[in-house]
């Protein structure tokens, strides 16, 4: 967005108590090769503005994809009209005098930019992965894709705030299914977990070719494997399942707008109540969870949230004790609790709400070998493929693509359809060992749904392997 345009639109900031303009431009390019066939390549580009107004006891927003001066004026008028109507009718009116001025920027580091690599080279890369995936005749489905998304935000307001951010992320995905008799088993890379703020060069560091070969072989083995046994046992959870466990049973219940009831008609509320912060032992003493927007290359790393709050790393759970919610500046005002920079919107056409950013489990002291050798009878679970949790984020059930039985400190055979269930309030107290930095993975999911109107958000999770005692594990039919 050019300076002369910005100078022009600054003149449009209306004479109200508070007004912000949030311009967002999104670019998405998706390339997929499925069963050796290149699917239609798609490119999308999106521009728009969100005008937010607080004025004379009312609030309102107007948003539009019309970025002509007339279009912006029209969005301002819509916001003003809604702020007039909502006067004295709001659940909470933010104190605009407490909104701080911010100025700065943030840009994702991409060593090799997505646009520097030709579409043909990307297609060739995916075609080669397809060849590797279709290793045997029993492979019934296979595919690989690359999705690149770039989000540029420009924020200005009546406090003379002015910041720009350019966040771009890459999501490589691989899927392979094998059939044995009428049993189909699937292994994936990336489905829910491997989105990161990286350049195209990142693909050189993860050796997807080798991963594809391993996944193809594992899907064949899984299709012939026995079902996971039904029993309570020690459960070692790999990072690509831990991120869902962390997301659903720590991330969501700590969102302050849920605790305040905003989400009760849709995403749900929380078993956590306002009086529990600083008092409630969420899990065992080895559990440390942070809101960390500063970790380079993680999906939700940024300097400012969409309400203009400056971002910093903060503990949510310290030594197992619940210390801080995931609530933005406005939720902080509503409750008097400490806030973090988590007021985020999926695009220019949605207002910011409390969202996870990067929610991470801090690493412990144990190697993967230490943890496996400590288990007499247990299971290692890898790669989430199903998740479900109640509206207060307590009773959960997760399924994984692959289970590996552990007996007498050693990995034994693999089992299919492993699932486990539990209750959040008890589960984290069963956490006995946390892996060290070697087992920690920087992961993230680009499709967290919440809010009315609905919003899909990208959130990061970094976690090591974690070991839990006495978990109810079970298999398929």
């Amino acid at each position: 967005m050019k300076e002369d345009f910005i100078n022009q639109v600054k003149q449009l900031l209306p004479d109200v108590d508070y007004c912000s303009f949030r311009f967002v431009n999104q670019f998405v390019n998706t390339i997929s090769v499925t069963r050796n066939i290149v699917e239609p390549v798609t490119v999308s580009e999106d521009d728009g503005i969100m005008v937010s107004i607080i004025n004379q006891g009312g609030i309102g927003y107007g948003s539009s994809s019309d970025l002509t001066m007339d279009g912006i004026k029209s969005a301002i008028n819509e916001a003003i009209e809604w702020s007039k109507f909502t006067k004295n009718k709001t659940t909470f009116l933010p104190d605009y005098k407490r909104i701080k001025q911010v100025q700065g920027n943030y840009f994702t580091k991409e060593e090799t930019n997505w646009m520097q690599v030709s579409t043909k080279d990307k297609i060739d890369y995916l075609r080669n992965l397809n060849k590797i995936l279709k290793s045997k005749s029993t492979i019934s489905n296979w595919g690989a894709s690359l999705r690149y998304k770039k989000i540029e935000t420009l924020f200005i307001d009546t406090n003379d705030s002015h910041f720009r951010q350019r966040i771009s992320f890459l999501l490589p995905q691989v899927v392979v299914s094998a059939a044995h008799k009428k049993e189909i088993q699937t292994r994936t890379y990336g489905g829910h977990a491997h989105a990161r703020q990286v350049g195209y060069d990142f693909l050189d560091t993860i050796n997807l070719n080798q991963k594809a070969a391993e996944l193809s072989e594992e899907s064949i083995q899984l299709a012939k494997s026995p079902n996971c046994p039904d029993k309570n046992m020690k459960t070692l959870i790999a990072p690509d399942q831990m991120i869902l466990q962390l997301h659903e049973s720590i991330g969501h219940p700590l969102e302050l707008d849920r605790i305040l009831g905003d989400e009760r008609n849709y995403a749900g509320s929380s078993f956590v109540t306002l009086d529990m912060f600083g008092e409630y032992q969420y899990g065992s003493k080895c559990l440390n969870v942070t809101f960390n927007p500063t970790l380079e290359s993680q999906l939700a790393t940024y300097n400012y949230d969409d309400d203009g709050t400056e971002a910093s790393k903060e503990y949510l759970i310290k030594d197992g004790l619940l210390v801080r919610p995931i609530g933005g500046h406005i939720s902080g005002q509503r409750t008097g609790l400490d806030y973090v920079a988590c007021s985020r919107a999926s695009n220019w056409n949605r207002p910011p709400i409390d969202r996870m950013g990067n929610i991470n489990i801090e690493p412990g002291n144990y190697s993967e070998k230490d943890m496996i050798s400590s288990i007499d009878d247990g299971i290692l679970l890898e790669t989430n493929n199903s998740w479900s949790i109640d509206d207060k984020r307590n009773k959960f059930q997760f399924s994984c693509e692959k289970g590996t039985l552990i007996q007498n400190g050693e990995l034994k055979g693999i089992v299919k359809n492993p699932s486990y269930r539990g209750v959040t309030e008890n589960f984290w107290h069963n956490l006995t060992m946390i892996g060290n930095k070697d087992s920690q993975k920087i992961l993230g999911t680009s499709n967290c749904g919440k809010g009315e109107p609905n919003q899909t958000m990208f959130v990061g999770h970094s976690t090591p392997m974690c070991l839990f005692d006495n978990i109810e594990v079970f298999g398929g039919l």
């Binding site: 798609t42 580009e45 969005a75 009718k89 009831g261 479900s388 059930q397 109107p453």
Partner: protein, 440 residues
């Protein structure tokens, strides 16, 4: 908006070379969203968005570019021309697409339901006044949605509608709730009050002491809304021709003839209500009805043009993901006014939540009870139950353990708004199911 799309599509199509094909899809809305909590307004605003996608086809290759537009013809034409040039430049990078199939037959159409006037502020003032003593949380959405199609064969399709969708929950002091919805094209205040009053009445039963269920088998009534959640899971690849071929469908054993549902179950993709547009993104016109499951047996899948070429079958103009957009289940014989009498002893489930597969091969689904779930004894409501997790196969729920379906259907308008306001709907009866497995 129609005039805008006509003008801009003409300008683009005018630029198309003789050896090129152009397909244009248009999707726009002007919406108002008002979010409520504690019976007051939490957020309120307006969204105006216009999306247009250009699919350029040349020598068996296709490339698609989607853009947000302003609605200003001159500005947007310039953007679209740049995009067209970009697609042409990139074309040599692509391979020919063996599954590329688009309609060459000119089948233009026009449907409009934009005649009603919705006065948002008047409606909301009425709502706020009527619920001021209630604990209400929810979302009110309204406005116009527009879908358009044009191609270089001269086809032009247009679908527009004005509607509102108010989706809310009423809470009591024990944190128990009833979920309700009122959607339509003309706001009728007395109709809204009637729905809300029914909700308040049900809420009074939730004031009774919570009954803590233990895991085990239960006879349950699934309301149309609860059954819709089960059907949503079936629709997650279950009716897709491709998913059934590659084995990722939860119903693949049914298509192979190894499993079946109860003979009272007939499921149809039914577009006759006209809520969703009947034209496909590649220009085909969709059939009004496709019977997916007939008397418990798998009848046919939704088949996209791409699948048709991949598997050498005829398509039925299903979209790429081959999921239903307007599903209908034939009603049964249980009188709608005697549900609790027929249920006798069991659990009345108004709403299910957060479903997912626990064993997809076997169509096994897990999820939770949520709003308005009661224990019924001897045909009478006793009190609310605690949140329970279930884990059960679709073959049991709609097969061996299905006691029956109710004789009335509810039309449920999808209130989801992820990229824009949805035009999906479903028309379903309720169901009484035996031995429904609660696990946690």
């Amino acid at each position: 908006m129609k005039e805008f799309f006509e003008s801009i599509s003409k300008k683009i199509l005018h630029e198309i070379h003789d050896d090129e094909v152009m397909i244009i899809n248009f999707d726009a809305e002007v919406s108002n969203f008002v979010r409520l909590n504690h019976s007051k307004i939490r957020q309120a605003g307006n969204v105006k968005q216009l999306d247009l996608s250009l699919s350029l086809i040349h020598k068996g290759k296709i490339h698609t570019s989607s853009l947000r537009l302003s609605g200003n013809i001159d500005r947007d034409t310039e953007i679209l021309m740049k995009s067209l040039n970009y697609l042409r430049r990139e074309m040599p990078e692509l391979s020919t697409d063996p599954y590329l199939l688009y309609s060459k037959k000119k089948q233009s159409s026009f449907t409009s339901n934009c005649n009603s006037k919705i006065n948002n502020q008047e409606i909301l003032q009425n709502v706020l006044d009527y619920v001021s003593n209630e604990e209400l949380v929810g979302i009110y959405s309204s406005g116009n949605i527009y879908r358009g199609f044009a191609n270089s064969f001269g086809q032009f399709n247009w679908h527009e509608s004005t509607s509102f969708n108010f989706d809310w929950s009423l809470y009591n002091n024990n944190d128990k709730a009833i979920k309700q919805n009122y959607a339509g094209t003309e706001w009728d205040y007395s109709r809204f009050k009637k729905i809300l009053d029914e909700g308040k009445l049900k809420l009074s039963v939730l004031d009774n002491k919570e009954i803590k269920l233990k895991p085990g088998l239960q006879r349950v009534y699934l309301s149309p809304s609860a059954l819709n959640e089960i059907i949503d899971m079936m629709s997650w690849g279950g009716f897709s021709y491709k998913a059934n071929k590659i084995g990722s469908s939860p119903l693949h054993l049914m298509t192979k003839g190894d499993k079946q549902l109860n003979e009272v179950v007939t499921i149809t993709e039914d577009l006759s209500s006209g809520i969703a547009p009947n034209f496909h993104e590649d220009g085909f016109i969709k059939p009004e009805k496709i019977e997916l499951i007939r008397s418990g047996q798998f009848n046919t899948s939704l088949i996209s043009p791409r699948s048709a070429l991949e598997y050498s079958v005829d398509h039925n103009a299903a979209e790429y993901y081959e999921s239903p957009v307007s599903i209908e289940i034939k009603p049964g014989n249980i009188p709608d006014d005697k549900i609790t009498e027929y249920l006798k002893d069991g659990i009345y489930i108004s709403n299910l939540w957060y479903l997912n597969f626990s064993d997809k091969n076997n169509a096994r689904v897990t999820g939770l009870t949520r709003f308005g779930c009661f224990e019924v004894k001897d045909g009478e409501f006793i009190g609310p139950i605690n949140t329970m997790r279930f884990d059960e196969t679709i073959y049991n729920i709609l097969g061996d353990n299905l006691f029956g379906l109710t004789n009335n259907q509810d039309m449920l308008m999808d209130c989801s708004t992820y990229e824009g306001r949805s035009s999906y709907s479903s028309t379903l009866p309720g169901a009484i199911v035996d031995e429904f497995k609660m696990t946690l």
